[in-house]
Amino acid sequence: MTDMRDNGMAKPTTSLDEALAPIQDGCLLVVPREVSGVPMAATRALIRRSVKRLHLVALPTSSLQADLLIGAACIATLETSAVSLGEFGPAPRFTAAVTSGAIAMKDATCPALHAGLQAAEKGVPFMPLRGLIGSDVLKYRDDWKAIDNPFGDCDPIVLLPAIKPEVALFHAPMADRFGNVWIGRQRELATMAHAAVKTVVTVEKLHDGDLLADPLLAAGTLPGFYVDSVAVAERGCWPLPLPDHYAADAEHLALYAKLAATAEGFAEYLDRYVYEKRAA
């Protein structure tokens, strides 16, 4: 495959582990919510590599992904609006880590995370947001500030600093050999990529041709300009869903919820499904 870096295009596709190289220990990493393409194959690869001290921003919520990374001791700081396993109950490793103080928690509210990333994609230092005033969410965020609306009259409003991730990581249906990635209507993936210094993407498959050449596909395409590496990972969201492609694996998620309820059970889950150790 031709290396497109010479003319400013993205790198060609690579192996999963190579693609994940920009995500180093201590990285400020942004990942998407469950219905947008959670990169679970990549998450398992990061755990196998024993990545440490991540500052994970889950836009704007997370489920299995944050819980796995927390349980595997990959996370120092978590910035999100909620973590749970939904119909399968609380996220057990998240709950244990917050109550024991094992991770630093930066509680947010969904639109605040969207706004922080939008500030970064515009290259401005902050974004204002309504709501928040009088909440304990604001009280415990000393990086957020309420000011008086300079265009109003005694109208307090909260300013949120730009969130500038070092890396954005997500899974998408397809990419082409120019690094263009088709994200469809999951536009927050584009916001993440615009805001981040580097973007790493896993995809179900490679598209034969140029995604930007077809206007119908181009409208849902993140240009390769923003993309640093792409790796193919079939069923890369499993056991979470890739909307319009496959549903969540409910049986597996129920098994996870059961095992992750204890530290021992979680270790067994990692052995079986992340490290993929064979039973003796």
Partner: protein, 257 residues
């Protein structure tokens, strides 16, 4: 049980109560893990012959947003969403909701998932309906340990929205002027039981009416028309409560996102 015979399920009664609260509006949005409010919103749409718009945020089919997850919040910020639903691990008598933790925030005894969009939507959506099936002194408390979003704000704080009601498994409260008022008690429950299980003070009339049971027409709509639509987003709920089949394997996911 006061009713001699019940031909409806608790979920159907609650959905019917919520559908009445929704009223005549243009756009109802339903967030994550809210199958009963979703049932209510779809019921309201069936009764209104297509009005209001219903956005089920986890659905592919019942969700017109194409500009990413932020579009909902931008829409709400402009006043384009009339009704939303919130809940809480704790809800207090001032309408404050806690979705974060119990105990000291830095060293919590219990941790809930988190505030989701509440710290914003509670302020900007005109009719927020609080929904919490568990009606106990554990959930309905004198004062929440963490304010994910306050029930009321200072007069100079921009706040076109806020709570209008709280629906539980036992009763319906309205909310106005910073406090709850008991509106009706669901069939099979009593005022004494509501008082016994509520940790905060609330207004009440001398005799509280019984929440009307869903009519046969409503039950027919829920079971025949709404339940199959619901199955796309809440397959386990729809199958468990209504016996509805899942229409497609490509649902937006069975857990929240």
């Amino acid at each position: 049980m006061r009713s001699a015979r019940r031909d409806f399920r608790d979920e159907e009664l609650l959905a019917d109560v919520i559908a009445r609260l929704i009223g005549d509006v243009r756009h109802v949005a339903v967030g994550n893990a809210s199958p009963i409010p979703a049932t209510a919103a779809l019921l309201a749409r069936e009764r209104g012959h297509g009005k209001p718009y219903v956005s089920l945020l986890q659905s592919r089919k019942h969700n017109f947003f194409t500009d990413g997850a932020r579009e909902l919040f931008d829409c709400a910020g402009q006043g384009r969403i009339d009704v939303f639903f919130l809940s809480g691990g704790q809800i207090d008598g001032q309408g404050n909701i806690n979705l974060v933790s119990i105990g000291d925030y830095a060293h919590p005894q219990v941790r809930f998932p988190g505030s989701f969009g509440s710290a914003y939507l509670y302020y900007v959506v005109p009719k927020v309906i609080l929904f919490r099936t568990e009606h106990s002194r554990r959930t309905l408390v004198p004062r929440v340990d963490f304010v994910s979003a306050p029930g009321a704000s200072e007069p100079n704080v921009y706040r076109p929205g806020g709570p209008i009601a709280l629906v539980t498994s036992r009763c319906l409260f309205s909310f106005a002027d910073g406090h709850f008022t008991l509106e009706s008690v669901h069939p099979g429950h009593t005022v004494a039981e509501v008082i016994e299980n509520t940790g905060f003070d609330f207004e009440r009339p001398d005799t509280a009416p019984e929440t009307p049971a869903p009519t046969p027409e409503t039950l027919k709509l829920i079971r025949a028309v709404v339940a199959p639509q619901l199955a796309e987003v809440y397959p386990q709920f729809a199958a468990g409560v209504f016996g509805a089949a899942v229409p497609s394997p490509f649902s937006g996911g069975t857990i929240r996102g």
